[in-house]
């Protein structure tokens, strides 16, 4: 990767249509590598999630057109919520295969053209329309179903195993999970205070995070990302070509992708695919993935770590930008990608591991900062214009690894010192597809 740009995500951008949003991000990226000329770009991979939101079929062709990329090779990439992550991998494949030396990855979404509740309907159409949607299709509801079972498996059966009354035990476990999910929400909103690209920077308190309006029990508003308008681009180049344009490219070292059933109801109850540092015995009683974990995420991580030669991610990664559409799925993802074992996600937060050093969260964090997660504020604080989101993560990771956060954010408070290797993670529809990409300082 040799450059990137983001058009700040916003609730609405009525002054820019999708083409101009992409153009702004593209111009920013081009300005950052003055030696790169538009003619040097040989192909484009353009991503957006929804034709319903765009209300313009083949909108990617119009982006291609607006950027002056015709008649070069191009295609649209769509993979639900993982659209952006998938687009980066599509661009990577284009270059890694030797087909092109320079490929532009560009993504966008315009979600403001319908009211929020209609938008929720469009998103829910990415669930089985025969069996899931008509029951009351609502994505926050689906993720609430998943975290409820996660809480049951990993808090009710452990920390709260002593309480005999089943309902009381479950309520106590959920209370504990809500407290820890609120910590994730605080982390991401507070991190965002130093990210000018964020939409919801806030000095959020634990009381504030736990007290607000419930959307789908036990998920409340500050634990949920919002629909947005926005765009992001990443310019990818072969190793040889990259150094022609910049002295500080970032290497895409490993990619992985996994999938699972569209319907939650169909998820198997089998064995855990384990990392090198885990054992089968540890999970002997666990039925996996059920609806509590994302097998697609674990599959993607296994492939990406294999390609990148990573044995123990918590030792070998310096930061993670993951798909925190919900505070719950951030915690579930720690376990999927092996930052801790299944069942240890809540404790991972409570101990402070994913928080940043040198940022005041107003929390007591004994093991703070061992592996910062979502230093940018993630989807919860930046927003989630689907087709742009995964690319935005790539751009933030790129700047981290270049050590140029100060240049792009105007301050270096979120710059991870000596960041050598980062992970980006993009996630679609209840975990039906997930991408993991490993990036390294070149």
């Amino acid at each position: 990767m040799i450059s990137g740009g983001v058009t700040k995500f916003a609730k609405a951008h009525p002054d820019m249509d999708f083409r101009l949003m992409v153009k702004r991000a593209f111009d920013y990226a081009m300005k950052d590598v003055p030696k790169l000329k538009s003619d040097d770009i040989e192909s484009t991979r353009i991503s957006y999630f929804s034709d319903h939101f765009a209300r313009q079929l083949k909108a990617a062709s119009m982006v291609q057109d607006y950027l002056g990329m015709n008649p070069k090779d191009s295609r649209r990439i769509e993979w639900g919520g993982a659209t952006g992550g998938q687009a980066i991998q599509a661009g990577w494949e284009t270059v890694a295969s030797g087909r092109n030396d320079v490929c532009l990855v560009a993504g966008f979404e315009t979600m403001s053209h319908v009211e929020t509740w209609k938008g929720n309907e469009f998103i829910a159409l990415a669930s089985d329309t025969n069996f899931d949607y008509p029951v009351g299709g609502f994505y926050t509801g689906y993720y609430a179903l998943m975290v409820q079972r996660h809480i049951y498996e990993y808090l009710r059966k452990t920390k709260f195993a002593d309480i005999k009354d089943e309902k009381r035990a479950q309520r106590a476990a959920t209370g504990e999970a809500k407290r820890i999910m609120a910590m994730v929400s605080v982390k991401n909103h507070v991190n965002a205070l130093n990210n000018p690209y964020s939409q919801y920077p806030e000095k959020l308190s634990m009381e504030g995070a736990q007290g607000r309006e419930m959307v789908a029990y036990p998920l409340n508003r500050p634990m949920i990302c919002t629909m947005s308008d926005g765009a992001a681009v990443a310019v990818l180049a072969s190793e040889e070509a990259a150094f022609k344009y910049t002295d500080h490219p970032v290497l895409i070292k490993g990619v992985g992708c996994g999938t699972d059933t569209m319907r939650l109801a169909d998820r198997p109850h089998g064995r855990v695919p384990i990392f090198a540092w885990e054992t089968d015995e540890y999970y002997s009683k666990l039925k996996y993935p059920g609806v509590h974990s994302f097998r697609a995420g674990r599959t993607a991580a296994l492939e990406a770590y294999k390609n990148a030669g990573i044995r123990d991610p918590k030792e070998e990664l310096d930061f993670v930008e993951l798909h925190d559409a919900y505070a719950s799925s951030e915690i579930q993802t720690y376990e999927d990608i092996g930052l801790c074992r299944y069942g240890e996600g809540y404790d991972f937060v409570d101990q402070g591991h994913p928080f940043l050093e040198g940022v005041d969260y107003g929390l007591d964090l004994p093991n703070r900062g061992t592996l910062p997660v979502n230093p940018s504020g993630g989807l919860i604080a930046c927003g989630h214009p689907v087709g742009a989101t995964g690319i935005m993560q790539g751009v933030f990771a790129f700047w981290q690894l270049q050590g140029t956060i100060k240049k792009h954010f105007g301050n270096d408070r979120l710059q991870i010192r000596d960041a050598n290797r980062g992970l980006i993670h993009s996630h679609a529809g209840t975990g039906s597809s997930v991408t993991v990409t490993i990036m390294e300082r070149a």
Partner: protein, 171 residues
Amino acid sequence: MPGPKKFAKFRDVMKEVNSKGAALYKNPVGTEDLVILSPYSVKYIHSYAEDSPFFLGLAKGKLLGSECKHCHYRYATPRSHCMNCGQETRWFDLPKVGRVHSWTTCYFGSEEFLKETPFNLALIEFEGVDTLLLTRLKGAKESDIYIGMKAKAVFRKTPRYLISDVHFVPA
């Protein structure tokens, strides 16, 4: 002819567009954006195809699962071919009583279901069946429900041929 009315708040723009069809947004970034109403409505002629017997079953008060003829994996949400071995499945009667495998109460939702909030979603597990069924759980409040709770199927008297022809209540 007077032009579209101008507003500084986007919320007011939306209101005006909804009633008058067009409005101008005095954008703080310095632009004046013309915003119009653009309706969109579709009627699909949707065939349930291989899933048809399931929905016809609901209309007769029957809950049909499918079982793989080869590996005998049993699906509570039916499919005509097994996802494990690829072989055909056969229909079987699901029990009408199951247990709550997971659940939530939704206080918001998609536009289509917003008027029904709050409502409960539940994944139901059945004895001897490998997969689950997503359904509404009625007749119970957030404070009543727990994982493992028994629930039974109730069918809509006048079928709409939708999955919502069945819902569950505490058993």
